[in-house]
Amino acid sequence: MSALLDVKGLRTVFETRAGTVCAVDGVDVEVRRGECLGIVGESGSGKSVTFASVMGLVRSPGRIDAGEILFDGRDLRKLSQKELRAVRGRDIAMTMQDALTALNPALTVGVQLAEVLEAHDETLPRGRRARTRAIRERSAEILGLVGIPSPDSRLSQYPHEFSGGMRQRIMIAIALACRPKLLIADEPTTALDVTIQAQVLELISDIRAKLGMSVVLITHDLGVVAEHCDRVMVMYAGQVVEEGPTTEVIGSPSHPYTRGLLGSIPRLALRGQPIHPIEGQVPDLIDLPAQCRFYSRCADRTDACLTPIAVRQVGPHRKARCILAGEDTQ
């Protein structure tokens, strides 16, 4: 079966006064039907820009420089603005990290849901009365689906009348309004408390199973990936450094950056032992080194690392961008 989303050689750059920032540099992503793919990386890794590019949401001074974005076999980069708008919202939906700013504060939740349904739902009846009633029913049904109690009465409330967790649910509800084939969740729980975070993540997993959609979960939290994703892709400085089934990647990481990230997580189990932070910081994306981008921070670097290498197959389902991968990983 072909992949639902297949991104090949994506390159997105931003022109700034200081120079050209290459935020995404030759990224390949494959999202299969029905799977949950986790995208892990720190700020500046390009994880959010990659999917903003997929959604066609990169604005000036940014632009997509190269690459193919195949969704269901169609190249999204070749679509007109109008065709792209139809895909966005109906087939691919995205939720933002900050639900408070992503929702329009001046419109009720019901109106915002209705807007999406009006624009994309072709199954709605034609007659005005019937249409309004159908939209109201669908809206309440969706709010119920994301676990908002008494959805009928809450449709007429404004975003600020909801708590942070509830707002995140509403944003997911709006994203799900047209039963998209792909949901891109950009840091859906970063702004939330752990108990609420657990509720929201569980909700996304439940709905994925119910609707059979694919989910891309962008996060910096490897714990979230471990519990909710089938596959994981690790990004660093605009490139993919490792990709594979979650359990394998977390169980035996091939790339030293993934190992470093895992080693950086403080845990009760590690009390008294020193944690091993990755030294230094992310390279400046304007002035990228010619060698492997992780070179300056890598504990296992050798002279061979001065020549950058491409992502390569290191196992049946695994890829990594490191000369040592697949040969000798403790």
Binding site: M166, T195, A198, L201, I265, L268, R271, I278, E279
Partner: protein, 337 residues
């Protein structure tokens, strides 16, 4: 580690009273009261790290600031090294602030954008007359700046020229240059990326060993607290619901809130191993906290008694305390769920 308490907090309460307009006052309306911290007592021993954990809005940051009198407590007492902080006059308060410091969460908001690093870090020395000359001040600033991992040639730059992690290092240098004994770390790593977070945690632990510091470490991240704290206090809606040694509280939590908190943390090592306790609903508003036990609206174990009567904190042995009516019924969410 000695057991002498360096900091003692007794029945500390902080309420924020809303302002009333003249019309509301004439109509005898009662002002709205946010009960941010209610009747909190705790001790921090010399040389230890007390972790303070809780979700946003639970009052943990307010507690840290009330201890330092950055926000004046409504009632209660704070004693630092035998001296009562809550009644100090402004001059004495200034002196004690040399010894009690704070590291903030947001490395962007906590540094004055118009001051250079040298000015920011050197300020405490100036305020407390700790440098004999301009050269001495510069030398001391360079010493601490290099210790926390920046370079002397970066001293005359402005905060916006640094990354988040570097800014947090500057904030740490500012807090440590006056040689304090006690530091409130208010979510110092929450705004940072994972790999930078680990660097800052390591730095804070190294500095604690070198300088003999005592930390009150506030965080919403149980993994961080679990890794570095000696003892932990769990806060919910302005009250401490459970407190004790980290091993006891986090590996065998007794309060249902701590239990649900623990089970909600995603675990890299053992995904899906934990029996999930799902709390329903959201944090109640501190403007109108629930009666009885404040957790009863979300607690799966709540009974009628919890709705009417507030539980009193009980000693469970070994310094482990918790406040719950059903502590002795051998119930655990982690087993019943």
């Amino acid at each position: 580690m000695s057991t002498e308490p360096l900091l003692k907090v007794e029945n500390l309460t902080k309420h924020y009273v809303g302002r009333l307009s003249l019309a509301q006052r004439l109509a005898r309306e009662k002002p709205s009261v946010v009960r941010a911290v209610s009747d909190v007592s705790l001790e921090v021993r010399k040389g230890e790290i007390l972790g303070l954990i809780g979700e946003s809005g639970c009052g943990k940051s307010t507690l840290g600031r009330a201890i330092l009198r950055l926000h004046e407590p409504t009632s209660g007492r704070v004693t630092f090294d035998g001296q009562e902080v809550t009644t100090l006059d402004p001059m004495a308060l200034k002196d004690i602030r040399r010894r009690m410091q704070i590291i903030f969460q947001d490395p962007y908001a906590s540094l004055n954008p118009r001051r250079t690093v040298a000015e920011i870090v050197g300020l405490p020395l100036k305020l407390h007359d700790l440098a004999t000359s301009a050269d001495d001040l510069r030398a001391k600033v360079i010493a601490i700046i290099e210790r926390i991992g920046l370079k002397a040639n970066q001293l005359d730059r402005y905060p916006h020229q640094f990354s988040g992690g570097q800014r947090q290092r500057i904030g740490i240098a500012r807090a440590l240059i006056s040689n304090p004994d006690f530091i409130v770390c208010d979510e110092p790593v929450s705004a940072l990326d994972v790999s930078i977070q680990a660097q800052i945690i390591e730095l804070l632990l190294e500095l604690k060993r070198e300088m003999g510091l005592t930390y009150l470490f506030i965080s919403h991240d149980i993994s961080v607290i679990g890794y570095l704290a000696d003892r932990v206090a769990v806060m919910y809606l302005g009250e401490i619901v459970e407190m004790g040694p980290v091993d006891a509280v986090l590996s065998a939590p007794r309060h249902p809130y701590t239990q649900s908190l623990m089970s909600a943390v995603p675990d890299v090592d053992h995904p899906g191993h934990a029996q999930r306790v799902r709390l329903t609903g959201d944090l109640p508003s501190p403007l109108d906290p629930p009666s009885g036990c404040k957790f009863h609206t979300r607690c799966p174990l709540a009974v009628d008694r919890c709705r009417s009567e507030a539980p009193i904190s009980e000693d469970l042995g070994g310094g482990h305390r918790a406040a719950c009516h059903r502590l002795h019924e051998k119930l655990s969410l982690l087993e019943t769920a």
